[in-house]
């Protein structure tokens, strides 16, 4: 959707600079901090208005933490977050309320993200109660509009979450996220829990809404197929760090980082004819509390050299808009 040519500079909506989020590990007799889980380590990126930025990576690599940090649900360890040219990372809850309307989130588990003891109509009304002074009637009307928007009906107003199917629940989650007309929505594995057929329905809905409201998405997923279908650009993360960022086209066609290459080749293709050469990574994800020195990926990297163990590769732009952090970026395995 957004073409990244240097001439037509798209507007930057959100900018992260050196964002870090560490979780302290407590232990010992006095429960002192003994170390940190470096969930997000030094992430910088820009997100343009109207685009979908995919974030992919293995479980535990810090995707969700990054999303929550942007929304201010986690206190940052370091770094800056600018939203529409305002620094928002240190705002108090009250001051932040106006950004709350602008930034919303859709969660992975559509069931878990709805209060099981609240009728969904009331759950949606609550959003207006918190942020507007609408009368009860207005609220109800707005909620019904919302329900229609996401393909549900007025009759669903008084139901409880357990009375919906997974796809419907996710629609409710979406309705709640777009209730206040945000400009930026984080989808944290928003479709991962859904069946393929339902997943396709929800992806379509998200796309429709994006077109209608000029939404920007930060689309967190581990399904590269979905990311490829849904996003404009992709960010690949590994162990809290960003390893590669590029347009979907550029990155899928020409992955620079060996991890991205391995990731792409590991995806099972729903077709019996594709015969890709599989790159099999050895071993598991290292412990994020005790990440490897140098390049965090070197322990599993098939092309790692001695430098990788020592030096942390720099985050460099190799092509326009295509970044990677690897000493041997571009080397094919």
């Amino acid at each position: 959707m957004v073409t990244l040519s240097p001439k037509s500079e798209p507007k930057i909506l959100l900018e992260l600079k050196g964002v870090k989020k560490y979780f302290p590990i407590k232990g010992g007799i006095l429960k002192r901090v003994q170390g940190n889980v470096k969930a997000v380590e030094d992430v910088s990126l820009q997100l343009y208005e109207g685009e979908s930025l995919g974030v992919v990576g293995e479980s535990g690599c810090g995707k969700s933490t990054l999303g929550r940090a942007i929304l201010g649900l986690e206190e940052l360890t370091a770094g800056k977050i600018r939203f529409r040219d305002e620094e928002i990372q240190d705002l108090k809850r009250k001051e932040k309320l106006k950004f709350v309307k602008e930034m919303q989130m859709i969660f992975q588990d559509p069931y878990a993200s709805l209060n099981p003891r609240q009728r969904i109509g009331h759950a949606l009304e609550e959003v207006f109660t918190m942020h507007t002074n609408m009368s009860a009637k207005e609220k109800r009307a707005s909620v019904i509009d919302l329900l229609n928007e996401v393909g549900l009906k007025e009759e669903h107003f008084d139901r409880y979450p357990h009375e919906f199917s997974g796809g419907q629940r996710q629609r409710i989650g979406i309705a709640r996220a777009i209730a206040l007309n945000p400009s930026f929505v984080i989808c944290d594995e928003a479709v991962s829990a859904l069946d393929v057929s339902v997943q396709a329905q929800v992806l379509k809905l998200l796309k429709t809404l994006q077109e209608k409201y000029q939404l920007s998405y930060l689309f967190i997923s581990h399904d590269l197929g979905v990311v490829r279908y849904f996003c404009d650009r992709v960010l690949v993360m590994y162990l809290g760090t960003t390893v590669e960022l590029g347009t979907v086209k550029g990155l899928f066609a020409d992955p620079l980082h060996p991890y991205t290459q391995a990731l792409l080749s590991a995806i099972p293709r729903p077709s019996v004819h594709v015969n890709t050469k599989r790159i099999r990574l050895q071993g598991d994800l290292p412990n994020p509390a005790n990440p490897p020195s140098g390049c965090p990926f070197h322990t599993r990297c098939p092309i790692a050299q001695d430098v990788c163990k020592v030096d942390k590769p720099a985050w460099q732009e190799y092509e326009i808009g295509h970044f990677a952090a690897c000493h041997f970026a571009g080397t094919k395995i």
Partner: protein
């Protein structure tokens, strides 16, 4: 593990401080004059005054408390107002009895509780389950003193199988065991019932677990599925209940001790309260609180043996 023990020890110190203050202040506020209890009904005002002076009761509250804490820190828990006996000595005579009683009741409670819970869970919804549930609930709802009196009537007086009261024989002798049985049943029944209920629901939960299905998929014999794959997991919440109950048992021996004429800490405490024998009350409450913490510590340590996922380091 050592870290855990040290941390608990530190917490214990503060807990004891808090408790001693609570006891001290509530005793101070509560009506009832220790001097009257020492002097007796006939004591004149001047007699009482002399007694108060003698016991240091005329000092300001904080001075009294400070003195108590200071002495206690040096291991001196004071002397009984009534008998002038050292509190530590009085308690050390009674504590073994209370401990014997609590442990014996716990054994009764665990054996009956787990057995009944298991049967209930394995024969879920059968008449056995209903019977055992009903018995468990009856167990919870029978007052201790009532059960104790009935047991005495039937088994000690009429059948003569056990002695009525006392706990003087060493516990490893036949007599010692006989003496423990009725009180242990009296005290343990309530806990047995609670353990049974917890064991039942925990068992029912665990038996649905994926890993139990895995075990069956491997062709493990049903007996082993229960005893090896299910029981240990099901015990984790049960142990919490056991720990809590042990705490309650230590505090709840009072009535049983009374009914079975057992010379224990519970009775010491209740008598001391009745006689406003503050140092004795303090001493026994602190002991019970310490035991409670120790039991919880043991429970936490037992967790690490049962559940390898738990570690305190």
């Amino acid at each position: 593990m050592i870290a855990l023990i040290v941390r608990r020890a530190v917490q214990l110190v503060f807990l004891l401080l808090g408790i001693s203050f609570l006891v001290f202040s509530s005793m101070y506020i509560a009506p009832g004059d220790p001097a009257t209890m020492v002097g007796g009904a006939t004591a004149t005002e001047s007699d009482l005054e002399a007694i108060r002076d003698n016991l240091g009761l005329n000092d300001p509250f904080l001075v009294q408390y400070g003195r108590y804490v200071k002495n206690a820190a040096q291991g001196d828990f004071g002397y009984s107002y009534q008998t002038k006996q050292a509190v530590s000595e009085a308690i050390s005579i009674r504590f073994p009895n209370t401990l014997k009683l609590a442990i014996a009741s716990m054994i009764v409670a665990i054996v009956i509780g787990i057995f009944a819970g298991l049967i209930s869970a394995l024969k879920h919804n059968s008449w056995l389950d209903v019977t055992s549930t009903t018995f468990a609930l009856a167990g919870i709802s029978i007052p201790n003193f009532w059960l104790g009196a009935i047991l005495i009537l039937v088994f000690a007086v009429n059948l003569g199988w056990f002695p009525v009261g006392g706990l003087s024989a060493p516990f490893y002798t036949v007599d010692g065991i006989k003496q423990l049985i009725l009180p242990a049943i009296t005290l343990g029944t309530g806990s047995a019932a609670m353990i049974a209920r917890m064991a039942r629901s925990s068992m029912l939960e665990v038996i649905k677990a994926d890993y139990v299905r895995t075990a069956r998929a491997k062709g493990v014999k049903e007996r082993n599925v229960i005893w090896i794959h299910t029981l240990k997991n099901a015990m984790i919440p049960v142990i919490t209940v056991i720990g809590l109950n042990f705490g309650f048992l230590l505090g709840g021996t009072i009535i049983t001790e009374k009914v079975f004429a057992i010379n224990g800490v519970g009775r010491l405490m209740i008598d001391a309260i009745a006689m406003r024998d503050f140092p004795m009350v303090q001493g026994s409450v602190l002991l019970v609180a310490t035991l409670f913490v120790v039991v919880n510590l043991i429970v936490d340590i037992v967790y690490t043996f049962i559940d390898p996922r738990i570690s305190y380091d």
